[in-house]
């Protein structure tokens, strides 16, 4: 029965077993990114944000400064033929939202950066969730996570001025001709005086799936029903946009139209740096009504990760690499700030 091996044979076999276990351990460490060459990871992107803007425990690692709002979405029903998502037919869908400004420093003045964002969660009565994070520029300057990382590096603040080095930004744009549409937007951008009169874009393309399983690629945008008014040249209030929004909401609800822009064959679906032709057909999917500030930074939006891949049945992702990278990086940001909340208490 038992014939244990002894002597050199035993030594060889023990060595073989140890080598096998070591190899398995190394494979695991390599997969985890603990060993091996540096690669672009969500951790590295967030580390770079923090290296540039400072460590701000509890805050989102990008679009750090914002405020929570609540409201609802009134579906027009017009998008229901294109998507089986309940959000496009339910009369009134509760919404939790967040307005923010771009950047990883929560102390930035509201009007100090051009990028504004609106994040939304729609919770429909079938128990499904749809989260979307939208920006005011309709496109990004880049179309891949690697180029995004290069852009972040190019925007590293110069210690002398506290601002990005213009020469470095120029060099980045020269190396990235795909940034043309974004630069055009930036050059013509005239900031409004309110989150309420700002238009927000999905950035990435998604696919609507109808009841027969037919796909329609779309981008969406949230168009303000509040008339445009230019931002004053001089603004001293660092919370200008937050105060403005609270003031407007104290007067009554604010409205936006959720517009789905329908792609046509050949439109780029996986490159958020490429705009679609302006004459694309679109559908008014309904009206977003925001009616209250839900405690700045401390409302229901605080504990949500507005991962753009949290989609209901009837809306699917495209293979856009930025979409996947956003999802991965948002998750890392959420994990870090939740860990930080253990030490600092729950407050951003």
């Amino acid at each position: 029965m038992n014939t244990p091996v002894h002597g050199p044979a035993k030594l060889w076999r023990l060595t073989a077993i140890a080598a096998g276990l070591l190899a398995a351990g190394c494979a695991f460490a390599y997969t985890a990114g603990w060993i091996g060459g540096p690669k672009l990871s969500p951790q590295r992107i967030i580390d770079t944000f923090e290296a540039q803007a400072g460590h701000h425990p509890g805050y989102r690692k990008n679009h750090a400064k914002g405020l929570c709002v609540t409201g609802y979405f009134e579906s027009s029903g017009l998008a229901a033929p294109l998507s089986s998502a309940r959000v496009f037919e339910q009369a009134r869908v509760p919404v939790i939202g967040r307005f923010a400004i771009g950047g990883a420093n929560p102390a930035t003045p509201d009007t100090g950066v051009p990028v504004r964002s609106m994040a939304l969660q729609f919770a429909t009565d079938d128990g499904q969730l749809w989260r979307t994070g939208m920006n005011n520029p309709p496109v990004l300057a880049i179309g891949t996570p690697e180029a995004f990382y290069q852009q972040v590096l190019a925007m590293t603040p110069d210690p002398a001025t506290g601002k990005a080095d213009p020469a470095r930004m120029q060099a980045f744009f020269a190396e990235h001709p795909e940034s043309a549409a974004f630069r055009q937007w930036a050059a013509s951008y005239k900031p409004s005086d309110s989150f309420a009169s700002t238009q927000y874009h999905s950035i990435n393309a998604f696919r609507l799936i109808d009841r027969q399983g037919k796909e329609q690629p779309v981008r969406w945008q949230v168009e303000p029903q509040t008339p445009y008014s230019a931002l004053p040249a001089q603004v001293s209030d660092t919370l200008f946009l937050q105060h403005d929004l609270a003031q407007r909401l104290s007067q009554g609800p604010l409205r936006w139209t959720l517009r789905l822009v329908l792609a046509e064959p050949g439109d780029p679906l996986e490159d958020p740096s490429k705009p679609w032709p302006a004459q694309r057909r679109s559908i008014d999917a309904g009206t977003l009504v925001i009616n209250a500030v839900d405690a700045p930074e401390q409302g229901a939006c605080r504990d949500l990760n507005f991962d753009p891949l949290i989609l209901p049945t009837g809306i699917q992702a495209t293979a856009d690499p930025i979409l996947a990278a956003r999802s991965a990086a948002y998750s890392e940001s959420f994990n870090r700030r939740s860990r930080e909340s253990l030490n600092t208490g729950v407050r951003p």
């Binding site: 398995a24 997969t31 939740s338």
Partner: protein, 177 residues
């Protein structure tokens, strides 16, 4: 009378879960440091497989408790006997807790869950942090325990050359002994 080998169904469960658990550990640790287009696919696969493994471990615990299994070799030293018992308790505990921690952490983080499963923890950022950390550390511990288990199994097969490895052999057993 104790059998010489594990019941074929127990062996099927063991090897099926062995493959799935190893895949899960690598997917889990790989997906969080990956931001390519593989990331969302791996996350979906991780959640679906986690749910499957939760169902499998429940069946497996029931099988372990009800179907007779072979004893450890009579000549096994007491310390190794203790190590065998402890590592098996750890393996079962971790196999059960990993998917439950995953489910609970999605609940606490306010994330949707596969098949719209109900939340099993309140939506709470600090609780999420604890559960998310526990899910990682239980995963590392499970991987380490799997390596110890594998090393011990190979010691039985190649060094002690007793009946332990054969009792869990994935194929049909030709020898009656």
């Amino acid at each position: 009378m104790k059998p010489a080998a594990f019941h074929p169904f127990a062996r099927l469960l063991h090897w099926l879960m062995a493959v799935l658990i190893l895949a899960m550990l690598f997917i889990g640790v790989g997906m969080v440091s990956d931001l390519s287009t593989r990331h969302p696919l791996l996350v979906e696969l991780h959640k679906a497989t986690g749910l499957l493994l939760l169902l499998l471990v429940l069946v497996r615990i029931a099988v372990r408790l009800t179907v007779p299994h072979p004893p450890l070799p009579a000549d096994l030293p007491a310390l190794q006997r203790l190590a065998a018992k402890a590592s098996h308790i750890a393996l079962y505990g971790l196999m059960l807790s990993m998917p439950l921690l995953g489910w609970a952490m999605l609940s606490a983080g306010g994330y949707p869950r596969p098949l719209q499963l109900p939340a099993i923890a309140p939506h709470d950022l600090q609780l999420y942090a604890l559960l998310r950390g526990a899910h990682s550390w239980a995963g590392y511990l499970l991987f380490a325990t799997v390596l110890v288990h594998l090393g011990a199994a190979l010691m039985h097969a190649w060094v002690r050359r007793d009946a332990v490895f054969k009792s869990m052999w994935p194929g049909p057993l030709r020898d009656s002994k």
